[in-house]
């Protein structure tokens, strides 16, 4: 089933089509939200809201962009809303996904018993640095950088998701890299 047919069936409240949509995009949406928000709980809440909005508003999709672009756009906007709301109410008490041990991570990286304690500690410190550095980025730069570097989107795709010009995206990514560089250098020197 192609995306157009899928979304049309979701718009007519076809539950099997909606389930297929969720199956197909849940990991992508969840991990994008996770990279923006930095918390598993927050990412799941936002991802649920993304699919709920898709279910509610499937009729409004005009096919002017790809379905995946539309889904990512909703995910990014809701993630940013979540970050702003939590900032307003005193920050997020979250489990750091970069620090907690996830069974999935063992499959992606080398098993922990093959690394020395020093290497593990260094890895933990590095992840903490990344979280701190990403958190210090301005919102627009962070979104563009996360979508580019962590989600692997091209600048053109990011421009379509964010509905901004290509040059804006490239400028944001460039500034994000400069900001990260400036932030990370003193932290790395201390390590």
């Amino acid at each position: 089933m192609d995306d157009k047919e899928l979304i049309q069936r979701v718009a007519s409240k076809d539950q099997s089509a909606f389930k297929e949509l969720v199956e197909h995009y849940q990991n992508l949406v969840l991990n994008t939200c996770l990279n923006l928000i930095g918390s598993r709980e927050g990412a799941e809440d936002v991802a649920q809201e993304v699919f709920f909005r898709l279910y509610r508003s499937a009729k409004k999709f005009r096919h002017k962009s790809k379905l995946s672009t539309w889904i990512y756009r909703i995910a990014v906007n809701l993630s940013l809303n979540f970050i702003r709301d939590n900032r307003r109410f005193g920050g997020l008490q979250s489990l750091d996904p970069f620090l907690e041990k996830e069974p999935e991570m063992e499959a992606l990286h080398l098993p922990s018993n093959s690394k020395s304690p020093e290497a593990l500690l260094e890895e933990k410190e590095r992840k903490k640095l990344i979280r701190e550095a990403l958190g210090s980025l301005p919102e627009k730069q962070k979104v563009a950088f996360v979508l580019h570097k962590m989600e692997g989107f091209s600048s053109q795709e990011i421009a379509e998701i964010l509905e901004v010009s290509l040059s804006s995206v490239e400028a944001r990514i460039h500034r994000a890299k400069i900001s990260l560089q400036k932030k990370l250098i003193p932290l790395l020197k201390k390590m």
Partner: protein
Amino acid sequence: MTEACRAVEKNLVDIVEGKVCGDRLQYIEEHLKSCPGCSLLVGKFRHVWQELGRPHRIEPSLSFRSGLEQKIKAYDEKKFCSGPIFVGAQRRFRPAVAVLALLAGVFAGYEMGNVSRAYLEIPAQERAAVSPEGMFTFQYLNSFEDFPKGSIADFYLNQELKERK
């Protein structure tokens, strides 16, 4: 820190992404061979930058799907109860109801003001003797002033006036 060290720090991202080339690359490579500090920094930065490109990936928890299904179910049930016609009607009538409520408030305020005015028309000495209930009765009975002589309303009005006197 030498100028070469500053150049390395300024171009760290380009160095680890392999975007430095030509003379510049040669200059930096020569410097890294002789500067352990910069060499260490580039190594650490490279690790961090690679880590950024391998983001954390998770699978949805068991409660993710069930939570979503509950949301959808609650939405469908609510939508069934308040169908599109009802929702549309609500949207249209809400401003009308708000205007009616406003007018009712203005009218009530006017009536309450009328009662106050009637109370002020009573001479000051008598005012103290008039209870709130009595004041309302007076206001009510005053509205019978134009009733024909001998009518029940006229009778009760005269009774009230006699009692006040």
